[in-house]
């Protein structure tokens, strides 16, 4: 699965997003590309402010009012999402074709409604193609069993604050899977959790998604987490997509200087941690051309002038760099 051909579910092309703020125009995304095939789990990796969440929110078109999609295309199964009317988005895309697993399980459930109420609401409102026939209550119980909530009958009357973070995240996963989406956007679904709970949630997501024909856009800053669940990884830096490759290729053979630096900055067995020299750029006045060039050891004057096109360097492996590393 290299994201090419007719199998493409989500296609994002040259997406440029600006935020209007008091301090100026924040150029959050700069001509970013992304493709997700059917049944594929794609990791979107990047530091804070690299634009990965902005990209995900652009796909659902739930950006804040201050945001503006300045350029680019987004399509789902060939349908242009940017041209779609708000009412069509609400009826066909949001919560149906695409669902979201939010970042923070502690604040992502409405505190005034019980778990059962919130989930039955989704069944009635968005359908339950992910689970099959039956009355709403029974469907809720069944999906809660699937996400391994112990004795779900006793849990549905509970309010979010009565449940642990791990349980809440399981419920959010259940809610995202209920309508039977083609694409699930998981926005750092494990970041707020303990390491042991994180492992359980990842395991759960793998069992519920892999081989079921559901595509996942998995947003994370944690390369370790991404490597466990993703087929393919897209590396973002300061609003630009730098490199995409199958997981093992990306780890063994990174071709973009930033990816290499990022991998080398992971803590290793010797306990030494390297950091990348320089600082993450200010997105109000980002460096021209390739935004990584001020910190890049291979950069020359040309890098400050043009944003390189993405080059295919191997099957499914594409790099946005004028001077990619040798294989």
């Amino acid at each position: 699965m290299d994201g090419s051909g007719n199998n493409v579910l989500l296609n994002v092309n040259r997406l440029t997003v600006h935020f209007h703020t008091d301090r100026g125009l924040v150029r959050a995304l700069d001509h970013a590309d992304l493709r997700v095939s059917r049944g594929e789990v794609v990791g979107l990796i990047g530091e804070s402010g690299s634009g990965k969440s902005t990209l995900a929110r652009s796909v659902l078109r739930i950006l804040p009012f201050s945001a503006e999609i300045a350029e680019g295309e987004i399509s789902l199964s060939g349908e242009d999402l940017l041209a779609m009317k708000e009412s069509d988005l609400n009826n066909r895309v949001r919560g149906r074709g695409i669902t979201l697993i939010p970042q923070d399980p502690f604040t992502s459930l409405n505190p005034v409604y019980s778990i059962g109420t919130q989930m039955e609401d989704i069944v009635r409102w968005k359908g339950s193609a992910g689970i099959g026939e039956g009355p709403a209550g029974a469907k809720v119980i069944e999906i809660l069993e699937r996400v391994q909530i112990p004795s779900p009958r006793d849990q549905i009357g509970k309010y979010p604050h009565q449940l642990s973070g791990g349980q809440r995240q399981r419920i959010l996963i259940a809610m995202a899977l209920l309508p039977g989406p083609a694409l699930v956007i998981a926005d750092e679904p494990t970041t707020a959790l303990d390491v042991t709970v994180e492992a359980q949630i990842l395991q759960l997501m793998k069992s519920l998604v892999l081989g079921k024909g559901i595509s996942v856009l998995f947003i994370t800053h944690d390369l370790g987490v991404a490597s466990q669940i993703c087929h393919r990884i897209v590396v973002m830096y300061a609003g630009q997509d730098m490199e995409e490759a199958p997981v093992d290729v990306l780890f063994s053979n990174p071709r973009h200087p930033y990816t290499k630096e990022l991998l080398e900055s992971l803590p290793n067995a010797e306990g030494t941690i390297r950091d990348i020299p320089g600082e993450v750029p200010n997105l109000i006045q980002p460096p021209p051309g390739c935004r990584f060039h001020p910190r890049c050891s291979r950069a020359n004057n040309l890098c400050a002038l043009v944003l390189p096109e993405k080059k295919t360097v191997a099957e499914g492996h594409r790099v946005r760099c004028l001077y990619p590393l040798e294989a």
Partner: protein, 284 residues
């Protein structure tokens, strides 16, 4: 334990809220049954010059006024007027203020700014001054009082709902709702509003007390209810020229205002303690 049971248990343990609600329940009881409870219901309007300015006794618990009317009976009927004025005024303020606050908080554009700046202008002038001005120019009557109070109290609701909506907008569950394709109306009514409701309830309770006080002040100043209405502020105004000899004439209506306003404030403060979700977590 369900949320409702928990709330009830905390409520019954909260002495402040409990006392406040007892006071308010007796006020409502009194207002509804004024005709039955009052020893001299006809004294609201009919005068008995022979019994003028009698001190409290077993015949007239709170004494009589300068026209010989039973003050106790008039106070009971005054409770009815007070309650009607404040319920309508607070209800109308809520109906104006809450939707405006929701809209202004949810959207972040010139419209929100316009609403909030107008609310700020209202909040920057003491409510009583604005209300006197309005009631006076409309012609002093109970209707004018209700209108003046509604028009001047809504910004309190707007301010509170606005601030809470802005905070809630950043909450992840609102974004999750939008990601599910909830329309803006649905998000506001089904997800933002229920989370703001406790603040609205608290503000209403405090607002009732505040409104009663302002209505009485308007009555006292002659800008509100007019004699011979048994409104409490009007009664105090009438009593002025007979002080200090007929001390009961002013004291009992004053006490009535004091107790009722305190009741609403106690209930409001108590409810705030009970309904605040940050405190609720401690009771899991």
């Amino acid at each position: 334990m369900t949320g409702l049971k928990l709330t009830w248990r905390k409520f019954s343990r909260d002495r402040l809220a409990f006392t406040g609600s007892l006071i308010i329940l007796s006020l409502v009881f009194t207002a509804v049954l004024a005709g039955v409870l009052a020893p001299y219901p006809e004294d609201v309007y009919s005068i008995h010059p022979g019994e003028r300015l009698q001190p409290p006794s077993s015949r007239h618990f709170f004494g009589t006024d300068n026209m010989g009317r039973d003050i106790f009976s008039r106070l009971l009927f005054g409770a009815r007027i007070t309650l009607i004025i404040s319920i309508i005024a607070v209800g109308a303020s809520m109906l104006i203020g809450v939707p405006l606050g929701l809209l202004a908080g949810y959207y972040e554009n010139w419209f929100s700014e316009a609403i909030m700046r107008v609310a700020d202008v209202f909040l920057s002038i003491p409510q009583i001054i604005l209300a006197i001005f309005l009631a006076q120019s409309l012609g002093p009557s109970i209707h004018s009082v209700i209108l003046a109070l509604s028009v001047t109290y809504w910004p309190w609701f707007t301010r509170i709902v606005f601030a809470e909506t802005r905070t809630l907008k950043k909450a992840s569950f609102i974004e999750a709702t939008e990601a599910l394709g909830a329309s803006r109306i649905r998000t506001m009514l089904l997800h933002v509003l229920p989370n703001v409701s406790s603040s609205i309830i608290v503000r209403s309770s405090i607002g009732m007390g505040f409104t009663i006080l302002t209505a009485a002040a308007l009555g006292f100043l002659g800008a509100g209810a007019q004699p011979p209405t048994p409104e409490w502020g009007v009664t105090i105004a009438e009593s002025r020229q007979f002080l200090p000899d007929a001390w009961w004439y002013a004291t009992f209506p004053g006490l009535a205002i004091f107790v009722v306003v305190m009741g609403f404030n106690m209930l409001g403060d108590g409810l705030r303690d009970i309904l605040d979700p940050r405190i609720r977590r401690g009771f899991e």
